[in-house]
Amino acid sequence: MLTNGIGRELPEYIEGIGQLKAYEEPFSIQPESRKFGPRLSRVTPQDKKLLASIEEAIVKCGLKDGMTISFHHHFREGDYIVNMVVDAIARLGIKAITLAPSSLNSIHAPIIEHIKNGTITKIETSGLRGPLADAISNGIMTYPVMIRSHGGRARAIEAGDLKIDVAFLGVPACDSYGNANGHSGKSFCGSLGYAKVDAQYADRVVLITDNIVPYPNVPASISQTDVDFIVKVEAIGDPRGIVSGATRYTKNPRELLIAKYASEVIKESGYLVDGFSMQCGTGGASLAVARSIKETMLEKGIKASFALGGITGQFVELLEEGLVDKLYDTQSFDLTAAKSIGSNPRHVEIDAGFYANPHNKGCAVNLLDIVILSALEIDTDFNVNVITGSDGVLRGASGGHCDTAAGSKLSIIVAPLIRGRIPTILDRVNAVITPGETIDVVVTDRGIAVNPRRKDLIERLSKTKLPIYTIEELKEKAEKITGKPQSVAYDDKIVAIVEYRDGTVIDVIRRVL
């Protein structure tokens, strides 16, 4: 057994995965190797890229047993591509495939059948939800699932840790030579930030679209020089699941209260100065923080240099009102954001490597001042779980959580202190995605805790009237109401490995009993 830098125990070796490298500290790994390069191709003037079917593309790419295929998750709960392609692979009788999408959602429940029939034997993803997540937590896979952050996945691909044989990338608009983008067509999704990495590093790239547009389709997120084949299908996704309508501000009093405290923390932190940068999640409290920050910006005449990450309509509004100068967008979360990226030159599409890969020459999160993040569980070491529920079952995504926490100057977790009858702050979280040493402040509806490492922030915030406690005090406050929760019972089988963004292992997730 290994014990990593945050005291989690890991096996030294896992069958089908290999030796594990234990997490030490956020920036302790110095990479030694060179960037991975995809295979060279030859496309002659006579060659046509448009193929009749996904099956034909699979055959032409030479997909064989044991290979790795990848996808992006820009279509979220509306995605048809993963199920469509894996169905075709199964029909062709190809087995033991590693499924390596940027993330998986509830809509991918049909993958369970393909695990059972041997088509899929390994999975590498950022997130897992719904029936597939339940099945994996209950031990359906022989080999553990590899959980990576968005920056960590880009790193793994660029470093050659995750070698993609064929990338199947759904694109909302594409010409017949493979220039594609995400901001037009009936299935538009905005940014193609995750897909861009796969397109550049996969040995073979197949674009799947429901919207062929005249050549040349520029500006293109994915370039013709990276694309082998194109397949036109009836529909690549369900627009209702791809982009939600405008994300709306919450009316939930608890979320508003958390947002009020978080905004005060930001105002008093010293980071809210002209030219600052920030990233907010899509949760109710996060968005309410964004609104409150906007009021302060107007009041004080402050402007932000850029906003980063998953972009929502709220940030597009700030851009259009001139309160934010640029948007860096890896993933457009709603209709407004998806439309804006194609029309506003100051709304810039970035790929996941630019966003958060710690092993390139400087990713965007390094320049982030403030990030607001959510949590399913937090422990008294400030470690955060966003992947498993209080029952130990997979139900979330690593996303950019640990990337932005490590990169930003001020990382704030917003969460209710108690969910239903379950406390959010524990002695030990069920799974660690983000190490506590990268979390600065935890804001709940019943008080705020500052990481003791941040003496500067403690000093600043204790001068305010904000309800500041130690994290242990917050935990006790919750337990006075709920009692101490019983720990989840697991057996020895490891169902998922949580990789930190630098490629080390920060935790393993076991099968629930």
Partner: protein, 301 residues
């Protein structure tokens, strides 16, 4: 320092999630309701929940009131039997019609206090008038007991009794609100205004709060935490008011130190009501976080 009662937040007594941390939103008083917001088949569940919550949970100093069912219902007596034993700061009786309603409740509370060894008189009372008869008797009701700290108007039942409906400008309530205020001031107790039910009409709510503040009410009942900050903002004094009040109090302290009975400021005499008003202004400002009383306790956001 004045006890502030700018907001009294209704919390249905049968909702565990809301009961467990109703105080975190910052209302001056939290009122657990056993009456109109609780369905008949949940009366005992609500009573038990509020009883246990008050017994076990720490409301961190927030003033707690419990609205019981009337003694003319099968639940009022049982509510008192349970709730008095866990000693909320205030018991609020609904639909008071006469001063006897107050005295009847008081007698039962006293009986239970005595039986349980609770200092007699420690639980305070608040009465709500919600009918034409109640409003007309407000003067006697407000003066009916030493335990009474406030009188409230309940508008929904009142307008029905008056054969009208509520409007945004509150014309139909003007006479009743004024009557309740006069009764409160005559008895030296707090006057609390009724709820504003359309939580999403923020503008209408703001107008109503400004209106009742100008009439002289000490505060308003709220039904959603989102309404709390709105009321508190409106009840927060301006910097000019704060500055003037500070000077008045300073002058008054100076006079007291010199043993002078007459307080004067800028050549004008300052009499007792002005000093009281100044104290009230600074209390409101302190609670709003815009002013800190010297040596006073810090109040959370």
């Amino acid at each position: 320092m004045f006890k502030l009662r700018r907001t009294m937040m209704y919390v249905p007594g049968n909702n565990p999630s809301m009961v467990k941390d109703a105080h975190i939103f910052g209302a001056d008083t939290v009122m657990f309701d056993l009456e109109d917001s609780v369905a008949l088949n949940e009366k005992d569940a609500a009573r038990l929940l509020v009883y246990n919550a008050l017994k076990r949970l720490d409301y961190e100093g927030t003033e707690i009131a419990v609205r019981i069912n009337g003694l003319d219902t099968p639940y009022g007596r049982e509510d008192l039997e349970a709730i008095v034993r866990v000693r909320p700061h205030i018991i609020r009786l609904p639909k008071a019609e006469t001063s006897k309603d107050v005295r009847d409740i008081e007698a039962i509370i006293e009986e239970i206090e005595a039986k349980e060894g609770i200092p007699v008189g420690s639980i305070q009372l608040m009465a709500a008038v919600e009918s034409a008869r109640g409003v007309l008797n407000a003067r006697e009701i407000a003066a009916a007991s030493k335990r009474l700290v406030g009188i409230a108007i309940g508008a929904e039942d009142f307008v029905t009794d008056m054969q009208t409906t509520r409007s945004l400008d509150g014309m139909e309530l003007l006479a009743a609100r004024s009557q309740v205020l006069l009764a409160a001031r005559n008895a030296g107790i707090y006057a609390l205004d009724t709820v504003f039910s359309d939580v999403n009409n923020e503008e209408g709510f703001i107008n109503e709060v400004k209106h009742i503040k100008q009439l002289g009410f000490d505060g308003k009942s709220v039904i959603n935490p989102r309404q709390i900050d709105v009321v508190h903002r409106i009840y927060t004094p301006t910097p000019q008011e704060i500055h003037r009040s500070e000077r008045i109090l300073k002058a008054s302290e100076e006079a007291a130190r010199k043993g002078s009975g007459v307080v004067s400021l800028d050549g004008k005499m300052v009499d007792k009501p002005i000093i009281e008003r100044a104290q009230r202004v600074l209390s409101l400002a302190t609670a709003a976080g815009t002013y800190e009383l010297e040596g006073g306790e810090a109040i959370a956001y």
